[in-house]
Amino acid sequence: MPLSWILLILAVIGTIAFLMARSRAIGTVDGDARRLHSLPIYYGLNGALMALTPALGLLVIWLLVQPILLDRSILADLPAGAVPDGGTAALVMSDVRRVADGIDSGISSGSFTRDELRDLSVEDVGGLLASEGTALGSALTGEVLTAATSYWQARSSLSWIMTIAVIGLALIGGAWAVSRSRGEFRARNVVERGVLILMIAAASIAILTTLGIVLSMLFETANFFRQYSWTEFFFSTTWSPSFSGRGGASQLGILPLLWGTLYISTIALIVAVPIGLFAAIYLSEYAGKKFRSVAKPLIEILAGIPTIVYGLFALITVGPFLRDAFASPLGLGNSASSVMTAGLVMGIMLIPFVSSLSDDIINAVPQAMRDGSLGLGATKSETIRQVIVPAALPGIVGAVLLAASRAIGETMIVVLGAGAAARLDLNPFEAMTTVTVKIVSQLTGDTDFASPETLVAFALGLTLFVITLGLNVLALFIVRKYREQYE
């Protein structure tokens, strides 16, 4: 039964449970709602919550666990000869799954029946499936077909068991809540406890996400280091993954990627920090109300523009301009994608980030300090340079660190603007590449989770995560530690 039907049935059961629990509670007190412990709606909500939450929870868990268990049991039944030389069990399993899907759609569209399937030869089934639009990694073998048939049978019977279990649980929960719905039942307390638990669960999703990120990357990174030496990864200066064979010829040193990342980020910060800081100072200390109300939102629009737009800007405008105006005449190369292109455009992207953070920090400096300095005869700029900026310095450093972490993790601008060649070079008009570009290029398209060329992306991702996390924590620490001075 399709998922949408199960959900629809659950919604109906929930509504019925709501109505029945409410009317039963009112019935036990002879229609006099004042004699109820809680408002009538709480009895209804209790019914709906009891019917829906356990059933939905079971549904989600079942949908997550079923494919894993099913894969494992089918894989265990697979005869040893089913996995061809040079192939992996995962590839065979994906074929099994595809064949099962093909059988599913073939039977539902009526091009063959279950009985016909049993009598047909392997080649005929392969032909039938191909005509239904099932594309396989390799030719259909008898083992794969047997596995696929049992996979398909197990899956369809499991899906029925799931439907019955989920709907049964909803009915039981609803019936239990209705049976408890009497006048003296403390419905409000129970409902509020339930809602609180749901809210705690929602708040825990943040932790689960972090855990998911860290665990998934740690797991695959460990896999990677089992196949590739970690000293090579961290200290080799060559990045040249081989695409033909597996491992062996690949050299996966992170240093050229880190160099590109840091070079581009540095240029971006050299552009963004002075412009952003001066813009923030001007807007908060000098600009009139009218100018500020126009200029500040305009600069903040830059922050709302998606990075792919900056990437395209780098690709079609900034890159060719820099090449024709500087790189070619100066003999520094003739590549439109370069460190300078990506760095400049990323700098533009970071201007609003730096300026709005610094703006907040400058505004947080107490007015008394400004008044004191101006009262002693300092000019406005002297006040800013010698009083406000020193007072706001920890916050500004924090803002710069946050901007740096943004720059290091930025992807689309470098994918479109920086190029794909991993090099250790000083020439800013040369194409270089970054950690994020290589994550994208190693994980886009067909990925084989057994080869180091794919797994290296997880090691790169983990490195990126650790670096940006470190910068963020440091920034938060600096801001928190020194902010309290004036409060």
């Binding site: 709302g304 994550i439 994980l443 886009t444 963020n472």
Partner: protein, 450 residues
């Protein structure tokens, strides 16, 4: 500051009139002026960059909304398209586009001859003016309406990418000399057709509705599947992130005890807000696709990844909105006998709603423009089929997204795709503008200040 006080006070004899600036004051005032000027320059650079960015995108992208078409008369002979004569679309579908291509060629030749245009081009070369996609469009039109067979119909066919580029300034006679895909003679023919009023440029609806097209047919590439895919993902993000984000914020802001667990959750949320978006893509690939076995390129996976990415933004905005409701509201509700849960859900939450909705819309806007994580979960695939409706399992069908489609087009060699990519960005920016305007409207209209 210190030297200012130290130097001006003691030398009483040298002090002149207050009306005449001494050299030191002039210097300090100069520094003041320069400092102010730096600030102004910085602001102007920021605004100039915004203008430069927008004009660059607009100038290269606006032309994507216009398409050159050619009006030709095509005869649809029964003996070629429907030998059986029963007008059954299923039987007629056996005639592939190869059967229709000669009809368009003959039609163009006849149209040229009928209008008295002289050209040295063969019929085959002349037919290169027409987009390959038009053949498929003609076939679909005939299959939808079999009664057309046997008639001579007037069809408006798309011009090929190079002819289209000629009218958008991308292709010139000089560049056509060097181009193997177009010759100056073909451009002359196009101009001759234009003189007769057969070649026109009109608004390009297909750009907004058609699916993507192959590398060699930039003129037919559209955003239909991408817009639909983005819409599906936004739906998922809205349905999941809004309730979860609001529930989490209410708990953290109103109910959570001050303990280590709460601290951990809060630190986690502020860190997640700063994690690079590509890391969420890795998470999606590892957990949703590899571990949970969800299909690649599906809006459901994209929606889930974007939900996790948007949650911190929504939680931070919602907490700020809840915080801005004054405690007196809660106290009044509690004083009248409401439970804490009732005071929050009946009084605080409705008052915070405008702020929450504003934050949610801004979070959605951020999710709509996000590209990097979607690349990793396979949304770069070339998808020509529209996904089904959401209730028919369309969330699991392959689709692309607007920003990913932009990226996809930038990776192709034909320069016509740069125009398409910029055009797609304009569409994306229009959506973002609408969302931000809604947010501003909500804030202006409903926000209360206490």
């Amino acid at each position: 500051m210190t030297d200012a006080t130290a130097n001006t006070a003691p030398t009483g004899a040298g002090q002149g009139s207050l009306l005449i600036k001494d050299s030191r004051t002039a210097k300090r005032n100069g520094a003041e002026g320069r400092f102010k000027m730096y600030g102004l320059i910085a602001v102007c650079i920021g605004i100039a960059m915004l203008i430069l960015l927008l004009t660059s995108i607009l100038t290269s992208g606006l032309s994507a909304f216009r398409q050159t078409t050619i009006q030709i008369e095509v005869t649809l002979p029964e003996e070629k398209l429907d030998k059986s004569g029963v007008r059954d679309p299923e039987v007629m579908a056996k005639v592939t586009t190869f059967g229709y291509a000669p009809l368009l060629r003959d039609g163009l030749e006849a149209t040229i001859a009928a209008n008295g245009i002289e050209t040295e081009l063969s019929a085959k070369d002349a037919a290169e003016l027409i987009s390959d996609e038009s053949v498929a469009q003609l076939r679909n039109r005939v299959l939808r309406n079999p009664d057309l067979i046997g008639q001579t119909v007037s069809v408006e066919v798309m011009a090929s990418g190079r002819i289209d580029g000629f009218y958008k300034g991308r292709v010139t006679y000089a560049s056509a000399e060097r181009d193997t895909n177009i010759s100056p003679a073909q451009l002359q023919l196009a101009e001759a057709l234009e003189d007769k009023g057969l070649l026109n440029t009109s608004f390009n609806w297909l750009f907004l509705t058609a699916p993507d097209a192959s590398d060699t047919r930039p003129e037919a590439a559209g955003l239909g599947v991408a817009i639909l895919g983005s819409l599906y993902m936004m739906l998922i993000v809205l349905v999941l992130a809004l309730p979860i984000g609001v529930a989490a914020s209410i708990y953290l802001e109103e109910f959570a005890p001050q303990n280590r667990w709460t601290d951990l959750v809060e630190v986690n949320i502020s860190n997640l807000a700063a994690v690079p978006s590509i890391v969420f893509g890795i998470l999606g690939l590892a957990i949703f696709i590899n571990f949970a076995g969800l299909p690649q390129s599906a809006p459901i996976v994209g929606g889930l990844v974007l939900t996790l990415m948007t949650l911190p933004t929504i939680i931070i905005a919602t907490r700020a909105a809840l915080k801005s409701v004054p405690p007196s509201i809660r106290d009044a509700a509690l004083g009248l006998g409401a439970s804490r849960m009732q005071s929050v859900f009946h009084h605080v939450l409705p008052l915070a709603m405008p702020g929450i909705l504003t934050g949610t819309i801004l979070g959605l806007a951020q999710a709509l423009g996000e590209t990097a994580p979607l690349l990793l979960i396979g949304m770069v695939a070339f998808v020509r089929e529209y996904p089904e409706a959401p209730w028919e399992g369309g969330l699991f069908d392959p689709a692309t997204a607007l920003p990913v489609q932009v990226f996809n087009w930038t990776q192709r060699s034909d320069p016509a795709f740069v125009e398409r990519a910029s055009g797609a960005i304009i569409v994306l920016l229009v959506f973002l503008l609408l969302m931000n305007l809604t947010a501003i409207f909500l804030r202006r209209r409903f926000e209360r200040r206490w």
